[in-house]
Each structure stands twice: as C-alpha cells, then as structure tokens.
Symmetry: D2
Subunit: 133 residues, 4 copies
C-alpha cells in the first residue's frame, strides 16, 4: 500500500478543536494525488498525455474518531484493481487507532466523456505494486 502522513493544521479545525469534515476530505483527495504522482501517473499528465482519466464516481467514508490540530495522521491508500475501474481504499490512523476510513471508486474513462475503457497495462502494473495480494 501507499502511505503518507497528514499533519492536521490549526486552519483545519473547528470550534471544538477538531478537523472540519471538508478538510478531512481535502486530505484524502490530496493523498490520491500524491499516490498517482508516486507511481508516475500524476493526474495532471493523464489526460493530456495519455488520453484517459480516472474520474470519481463514488466516495464513501466513515469517521470513527476526531482528529485535532497537530495530530500526525497516517493515511494508507490501497488500490483495488478492477477491469475498467479502480477502488482506492483508505485507512487513516492516529496513535494506531482508526480515525477514518473508506474508499473512492474511480472509472477509467476516455478523455472527453466517451465512456469507459480497460485500465492500461502499464498503469495496472504500477498500481499492482501497492495492491493487496
């Protein structure tokens, strides 16, 4: 799996001192961006250079424990590969306890909205290194 540490910032927090939900979603989304860069298929190059994208069709998250400013939250991303889609599965922990978890379902789509296509082999291979066996 891929892993990064998100430090919750003062500007992410609410009157109770815990992170606002939209700021958690920002951190999750940033993690997908960092992962795609890590495997050398950054979102910002996919469409221009490869003619396809991975638009989000569903997101589902559960929030189990709040996180506070200064918390170092380990966010794991595991790609679960389909034929024409990929599910990014997330687990975020603080002090080894799950803070939030969930997934983003993404389809492999031709540029310009002409429908889905199979995941290209090189992208599949790159993602497979981070997938569960």
């Amino acid at each position: 799996m891929y892993e990064r540490v998100w430090t919750v910032r003062f500007s992410d927090t609410d009157p109770f001192g815990i992170a606002h939900y939209p700021r958690i979603v920002d951190a999750i989304h940033e993690t997908s961006d960092m992962f795609m860069q890590e495997i050398d298929f950054p979102f910002w190059e996919l469409s221009q250079q490869r003619g396809f994208g991975l638009p989000l069709v569903e997101m589902n998250f559960e929030f189990e424990r709040p996180v506070e400013a200064g918390d170092e939250v380990t966010i794991e991303l595991t790609p679960n590969l389909g034929n024409r889609s990929v599910r990014f599965e997330y687990v975020a922990r603080h002090n080894s306890k799950v803070a939030f978890s969930g997934h983003e379902q993404r389809v492999c789509a031709h540029r310009g909205g002409e429908g889905s296509r199979e995941l290209p082999d090189d992208l599949r291979t790159a993602m497979a290194e981070y997938a569960d066996d």
Copy 2:
C-alpha cells in the same frame, strides 16, 4: 425537503472546466449548515446552548454528471429521522438531471463525547417538516 441553489464558481473548477470533487463536498456541507440555520438550530448554537451536537459518522456520495462554472445546481436535502441519529439525504440536479446524490449519517451526541442520546423533541419536530411522509 429543503432546497438551495448552488452556483458553481470559476474557482471551483479544474483543468477540464468541471468542479473539483472537494469543492462539491464543500457545497454539500454548506447545504447542511444552511438547513440547520433554516430550521433555527444552527450548528454554531447547538453545542453551546443545547449541550449536544450532530457529528458526522458516515458520508456516501455518487457523482453521475460533472458540473461546470456557472451551472446553477439545485441541491435538495431531506432529513431521514432515526431515534438517536438523522440521515441527511441529498439529491443535486442541474437542468433537471441528477449531477450527484448521497447522504450524510449524523448521530445525536452529548457534548464532550459522552455518547449518543435521543434526538430532542423540538429538533425532531423542526426537522420533520422537511422529511418525506
């Protein structure tokens, strides 16, 4: 149900001219805030004055059609009342077609994290006006 119109802004949009997902989540979250203000239980008063909150425990959204800058998106919120929780159900449409939909599951919790409690009667009554029969 409760309804508001969200105008997608230039600053919400990505290199394809469509709204970034985190900005859609911002708009959904803002809708819950506007609804609570509409029924006279604004989020910013709940805890201080009433001693309870409605923390989010789950969010689940599907994205069916992208939205673009200038689009006027009608976001409907229907509260689905439980005993100790409430589900905010959302349907967002542009030109009468569903753009995204989903729900936020919220529990009624004592302030300070001491566990859940029943929805207060006056809050239940206020929300019921916007619920499906």
Copy 3:
C-alpha cells in the same frame, strides 16, 4: 458598487469561533466571481469567448474585526478602472462596522500570457456602472 451578503458558516470557523483567514479570502474571491457574473462577463466565459482574462497581480487586505458563524457580512465591491487594469476595492461590514477591507489588483491580459491590453470598451462600460463617480 456591487454588494452581496456572506453568511459565515460553522465550517469556516476556528477554535475561537471566528472565521479562518483563508475562508475569508474564499469569500472575497467568490464576491469577485459573483460581480463578474452580475455584469454579464463571468470569469468562465472571458477567456474562451473573448480572448482575454483579468489575472490577479496583487491582493492586499486588512482584518479589523473577527467574524463568527452566523454573522451576515455585507461585502461591497467597487471597481476602480485603469487603462489596462482594474482594482476591485472591497469593504466588508458586520453590524455596520468594518470587519475587513482591501483590494485585488487585476490586469487585462491577452489569453496565453502575451502581455497586457486595454480594457475592452463593453467591459469598461459594464464595470463603470458600479464605480465611484
């Protein structure tokens, strides 16, 4: 001048119950977007249809009084027209007292970064209606 009301949301606020600065900047920026739509030159149409843009080259804001969730903040925007640029001057008030004020300096630029140009006459005329005499 142009005027809109910004309601500070719970999700904009910090541990002291006041709006985070970046969220205030979001509100200011949204105001420029709403103004351009009001005068029928929305940002999202400028470049595609007219071949020029109004990129921001400077922003300068002062924060005099904090704003809280639920505050209805009146944000005024007055365009101050130059030859090849326009300054959007802002004053934001809550309960008739200035909360924050400042300006955005924008240049009129050819699409594609080929340098500045004079403000087109129709845009100048549309903005002039909201300018100070």
Copy 4:
C-alpha cells in the same frame, strides 16, 4: 529563514492548468502553521497554554508567475520582529524564479481580545533564529 516545498496539486488548478489564488493563500497560510510548529510554538498551543495569540491584521501578496500542478514551489518565510508584532515575509520560487511574494502582519494579542502585548522573550528568541541579521 524557514523553508518548505509546496507541491501544487491537480485539485488546486483552474481551467488554464494554473493554481487558483485561494489555493495559493491556503499554501501560504499552511506555511505559517508549519513554521510555528517548527519553532515549537504551534498555533494550536499558543492560546490554551500561553494566553496569547498572533492574529493576522494585514496580508499583502503579489503574484508574478503562475504555478501549475506538479510544480515544486519553495516557500521561504522570514520573521521580521517588532515589539508587539511580527511580520512574516514570504518569497515563493519555482525553478529559481519568484512566483509570488508578500507578507502577513501579525500582532501579539492577549487571549480574549484585551489588546496587544509585547512578544514574549522565548517566542522572540525562537523566531530570531530565522530572522535576517
């Protein structure tokens, strides 16, 4: 001075492929948060534990060159110490060229809005290590 690298993300970018201004402001603000953590006076501890804060009273930024998704932007922060205030001066470069620069003026204020006070000696000492001679 203090320095961090900000990677511009796909979700920060606009229809021209460049970062939206509010997302640049987010990155600047995050830098101040990282700096305060670095010198062991994180924003989230100041008020609770020390009884004072550093509210922002002015921000002034110039945008010289746009930045794109994937750009690694080096943001430098140099504190310029006053008696009862501190100015955080920023210069952000990409490929050694200035992309944006400016400052945040912050006052040292007693908690609860009871006016300004001198910067505490230990905070002054900690910041001075990053100040210009």
